[in-house]
């Protein structure tokens, strides 16, 4: 599609989105080459468990063998953030994938058929939306036991409704369009109409936007880990590293910023990861949003 090409051109032109792209690419590279950037010490069983250098609680400042220093429990921050990139991508991609899938199915069912199906699905989404996602996710994770897997499940459970609604809205829009009417008139089966006509016209933009919510998903995952409901101690996960930092926000008198590295570094990684996706998302929103189309 040529307008995809055009879009790409605009993305590269716009400094903000360009920055976003660069950030994301950098993270992708980090994720792919994690084993080279932060090699796994031999005899280390699970590469996602951060190797620890002793057990003492006191974080140690950056040094040549720990270039970002170590956090509570002598977990190497550098190793943690590098491999954490992989965890981040895993969570983001998996959750978004499933959520969008569910969203498409339920959303298009509700939007296309309307009536009772619509009502029921929408009421169910109401139920989910009426309850703060975070608390619900917390409850779910607590039930499934703290682990990245349960975090993903929880996030999926709490975030599908908004996508279902989004897509339902789009379907509703195109539903009345002439070509849908036409293909209906030509006696195409509902499924066919949805898949062949409604979806392509309705939700490509939505899909693009959705896929750019990866940042947001990773953010909530990090929040859960931070609240002590995410990845287990020592798992390479940014939120988890941040939660370690919690007790080291303030150093001893006279040197209150002594543990800055333990607090700052993991957070910066989260920030930039999310920032990358949001920059891209923002640019896309401008491009895809017909209302904002430039003359």
């Amino acid at each position: 599609m040529s307008d995809w090409k055009l879009m790409a051109r605009q993305l590269v032109r716009n400094p903000l989105s360009l920055m976003g792209i660069i950030i994301i690419v950098v993270f992708v590279i980090i994720a792919i080459f994690a084993p080279l950037i932060a090699p796994i010490p031999e005899g280390h069983r699970d590469p996602y468990m951060i190797p620890r250098d002793g057990y003492s609680a006191m974080p140690r400042p950056p040094s040549e063998e720990h270039i970002f220093g170590t956090t509570q429990g002598q977990y190497d921050i550098f190793y943690g953030v590098i491999w954490g990139t992989r965890s981040a991508f895993r969570v983001g991609l998996v959750v978004i994938g499933i959520v969008v899938a569910i969203g498409i199915v339920l959303g298009s069912l509700a939007g296309y058929f309307g009536g009772v199906i619509d009502e029921v699905i929408m009421r169910i989404t109401d139920i989910f939306l009426a309850f703060p996602a975070l608390i619900l996710a917390m409850a779910i994770v607590a039930v499934l036991g703290p682990s990245l897997r349960s975090v993903m499940i929880a996030l999926t459970v709490v975030s599908w409704p908004s996508y279902a609604r989004l897509i339902r809205g789009d379907i509703l829009q195109v539903r009345e369009e002439d070509y849908i009417e036409a293909s209906r008139g030509l006696g195409a089966s509902s499924g066919r109409v949805i898949i062949r006509h409604a979806l392509p016209n309705a939700i490509y933009p939505t899909l693009v936007m959705a896929s750019l919510d990866i940042g947001a998903i990773v953010l909530s995952a990090a929040a859960l880990s931070f609240l002590g409901l995410g990845a287990p101690e020592g798992y390479a996960d940014w939120g988890q590293l941040t939660s370690f930092a919690r007790n080291w926000v303030v150093g001893p008198p006279g040197d209150s910023l002594r543990y800055w590295y333990a607090v700052t570094i993991p957070g910066l990684f989260i920030l930039f990861f999310v920032l990358g996706w949001n920059l891209l998302g923002d640019a896309f929103r401008d491009i895809l949003d017909p209302r904002l189309a430039r003359r």
Partner: protein, 385 residues
């Protein structure tokens, strides 16, 4: 007959990501006192842009690069170079001396305000003195024949109001009215101005043949039919009885019966108010019906200007000919213009039309032809003449 508007070498360009779009360049055009000048041409030929340029409302990222638009206005003494005016002065002209009617009545009206509000706005803006005067009159009447205890209580307040409105009427700028009109809550104290404006509005609506104007004034746009909306828009444009009315395809979006009424209305306006009308349309039929003179535009330039009969009887410019042939008529097979409208991004050199011109000369590719008078009041921009 002298010119109300004289446009010379007007150039409007859009600076977009893709490049510079030449919407209009070196366009010359005159609008005479009390005439209806039609501008015809294909979509994207710069018709509407010309109208907007006169109001200096070329939308971002467009820009009036060069040229001059002279507006000669008798009562405010002589000629005004619109393009050199300060933004404030320009604003005092918009909607007052020169006003505009847009293509889409539905879009042109703000959905969240009543028709009345939107029209009164114009009066409150440009007819403040008059409103002040009328308000004062009303208050004075109250003072003179207001009686009874209630009146005696209110009297001092009325006196104050009377003074207030007098000041407004004199357009002297003492602190009170200025202060009041700024502060949101105190604005309400000037409610009589609004009342007067509303009265004028209702008259105006009646004038554009809207039935039950009082009710309509209180309604929101979405409650009106397309025709009614358009009438309201026209009412808004005529509110301050402007010298020049720019009508940008005012009838296009309406169905035929309503169109007829609209054209009727425009004709009447011209007669009653002696206002000039710049009538932008792509519909030659409409143009023929209502215009005194017609200008044909192509790719941002005027290629032929003539009186309406002249134009339709003896079209000179090849493009005009083609255009007329393209009009479907019974018993005559339709002819189309070969090729596509010139790309405004990088327009062809010389005469913009030469790539599509059946009788193009070699020179057409280098230099563009100036408008020259071929017969009385008939100007053509073509090397053939």
């Amino acid at each position: 007959m002298e010119n109300l508007i004289r446009i010379r070498d007007l150039a409007v360009r859009f600076h977009t990501y893709e490049g510079v779009v030449h919407a209009i360049d070196d366009l010359d055009l005159d609008i005479r006192q009390g005439e209806t000048l039609g501008i015809v041409g294909e979509t994207g030929s710069g018709k509407s842009m010309t109208a907007l340029a006169i109001l200096r409302l070329v939308p971002y990222p467009g820009k009036i690069e060069s040229g001059s638009i002279v507006f000669s206005d008798r009562d405010s003494g002589g000629e005004i170079e619109l393009l050199k005016l300060s933004e404030d002065r320009m604003r005092s002209i918009r909607g007052n001396k020169i006003s505009m009617v847009f293509q889409e009545p539905g879009a042109a009206l703000n959905p969240v305000f009543t028709i009345g509000d939107q029209i009164s706005e114009v009066y409150l803006l440009h007819r403040r003195r008059e409103l002040g005067y009328r308000a004062k009159q009303r208050v004075d009447r109250l003072l003179s024949d207001g009686s009874g205890p209630a009146a005696s209580v209110r009297r001092p307040f009325w006196r104050w109001q009377s003074r207030l409105y007098e000041k407004i009427a004199q357009e002297s700028h003492p602190i009170e009215p200025r202060f009041l009109s700024r502060i949101p809550l105190f604005k309400r104290l000037l409610w009589r101005l609004r009342d007067e404006a509303r009265l004028l509005t209702v008259d105006m609506l009646k004038d554009v043949e809207i039935p039950d104007p009082a009710r309509v004034a209180a309604q929101y746009p979405h409650q009106l039919s397309g025709g009614m909306k358009q009438r309201a828009v026209i009412a808004m444009a005529l509110a301050c009885s402007p010298k020049l009315l720019l009508a940008d395809e005012p009838t296009t979006s309406l169905d035929v019966t309503i169109q007829a009424q609209m054209l009727e209305l425009f004709r009447r306006i011209k007669v009653d108010r002696g206002a000039s009308v710049l009538f932008v349309t792509h519909n030659l039929g409409v143009a023929a019906e209502i215009c005194d003179r017609v200008a044909v535009m192509y790719a941002g330039r005027v290629c032929e200007v003539a009186g309406v009969e002249e134009m339709f009887l003896h079209p000179s410019h090849p493009y005009t000919k083609a255009l007329l042939d393209a009009v479907p008529m019974p018993g005559k097979e339709l002819q189309t213009i070969p090729g596509a409208l010139a790309d405004a991004l990088n327009p062809p050199p010389g005469c913009r039309f030469h790539p599509r011109c059946p009788s193009a000369l070699p020179m057409c590719q280098q230099d563009k032809a100036k408008l020259k008078e071929v017969s009385k009041d008939h100007m053509v921009a073509c090397h053939l003449f």
